[in-house]
């Protein structure tokens, strides 16, 4: 009986969620067709869908997508390599952890997006400044989580493995890594997400190409339906990438 009630509640909540989306779309449609909201502020949803179809068919998005993904890949490669290496070697010495951890956490508390103008000055408007910003921003969650992961391995485990004659490699492979991996993976996922956000963000603020740039370009030329379509496209891409990374995280976590 209780199961049936649970089930009903679950369906009811799904219905509320679906209803919310339907009502929202309906309001949007009515606002643009009946209530005369300017199409410069809110374009007709039908036209947005048409534009989205056009973007996907024409393949116009490929160039911008490539640039954004390449920037993301470069930034994440730099930050994950640097963050994991730095975090691991610091974590080997509790003393170094005590020296560096507050320092890293302190810098992490600054909104690093502030450095964007500096990076633009330094690296120009091209992809380099986006990669640099994305790498800087995502470095901190990665290094801090790696530090926490490797730093908080129970000493008993390490001592036990050592006393049973584990080599450095074995200690790392079978004790340290499995113990640290969940926390480290969380850091890598957080790093990936903020890298993606900061790269789209810096493309929005100052750039020559990329998905963020395209949205701003369309906004400035007042092509609202197409801009909305691009926003939807970028949101889907971002959610997709984040889902892929979360899935990876979940899989690795289960079988280290």
């Amino acid at each position: 009986m209780a199961g049936g009630r649970e089930q009903r509640r679950k369906w009811a909540s799904r219905a509320v969620q679906a209803g919310f989306l339907v009502v929202l779309t309906l309001l949007w449609y009515l606002a643009t067709t009946r209530w005369g909201v300017s199409s410069l502020l809110l374009p007709n949803p039908v036209r947005v869908v048409q534009q989205l179809g056009d973007i996907l068919r024409s393949g116009e998005f490929v160039g911008d997508l490539k640039i954004t993904v390449a920037e993301l890949a470069a930034a994440f490669a730099v930050s994950s390599t640097a963050g994991v290496t730095f975090g691991y070697f610091l974590s080997r010495s509790p003393y170094l952890v005590r020296v560096f951890e507050p320092l890293l956490a302190g810098v992490y508390a600054i909104p690093i997006i502030l450095f964007l103008p500096l990076y633009v000055l330094f690296f120009g408007l091209g992809p380099a400044s986006k990669i640099a910003l994305g790498a800087t921003i995502s470095f901190f969650p990665i290094v801090l989580n790696t530090l926490a992961g490797f730093g908080n391995v129970e000493r008993t485990l390490v001592v036990a493995a050592r006393s049973m004659g584990a080599s450095d490699y074995h200690l790392f492979r079978y004790v340290l890594l499995p113990a640290a991996l969940p926390v480290m993976l969380t850091g890598l996922r957080m790093g990936f997400t903020v890298a993606l956000l900061s790269i789209i963000g810096s493309e929005t603020i100052a750039s020559l190409a990329g998905l963020g740039h395209r949205i701003v370009y369309l906004a400035e030329s007042m092509e609202m339906p197409r801009m909305f379509a691009y926003i939807a496209f970028v949101v889907v891409i971002a959610v997709f990438l984040n889902t892929v990374v979360s899935t990876f995280e979940g899989r690795f976590r289960r079988e280290p």
Binding site: L103, P111, L114, T204, I215, V234
Partner: protein, 259 residues
Amino acid sequence: MTAASTIRRALLRHPGWVRIGVVVILLCAWELAARFVVDPMFLSPPSRVLASLDRVWGTPGVPAALRVTFFELAVAFAISVAIGLVIGLAVGLQSFARLSVMPIILLLYGMPQITILPLFILFFGIGPASKIAFGVSHGVFPIVLAIVAGVQNIKPILLTSARSMGASRWHILRYVIFPHMIPSFFAGMRLGMTGVLLGVLLAELYVSTAGIGHFTTQFTQNFDPTRLLGLISILAAMAIVLNEIVRRAEIRFGKWHSS
């Protein structure tokens, strides 16, 4: 020999000194790089940045811009906390609302809001309103999530016993839920402040007429790294102070019943 080992032991006992040493070494490296290696058009040594802070402050419009940014941050934070508290309580206290609305909130939170920054500018103009709105859009979600989590974690037995002893709705809210919510409320405020800072600064950097975004663009275009770094330092200091205030508040009020 003994002197060296004494120093060694002192350093081992006080990692804080070494931390300061690391910062000093990094600053020295920056100073040397900026003076001898990098083109002065792109990087300025920290000593010069420090010495020219008053020149930054003296740039016409900069103090006003910093005031505008501070005002935007404060208003956005206040609105985020107010809205977050209301939504968080409304959603968190009702188990059906939690079940049905939480996925929507999580979906919205998971969206890259930066993509709709141009829309905020279109809707709210290029003045402070759009920065405040964008700051709120970043700050409100962590607060809602923290409050929902906090309300959810209240032991049901406390609510049941309060009710069975005849407490009214308001009394339960006032004497059971509020006190138990306080730690997560402050945790949410800290995360909300991080979000508000990010949102407001993103919008400021994107487009700005009177705020600091205007000046960062100007200094960048004029290849004036000294003043750019000065302005960024002032803003970073502002962000650190604001973060520190909410962090201290969290530590102070955040753990009354954890013991």
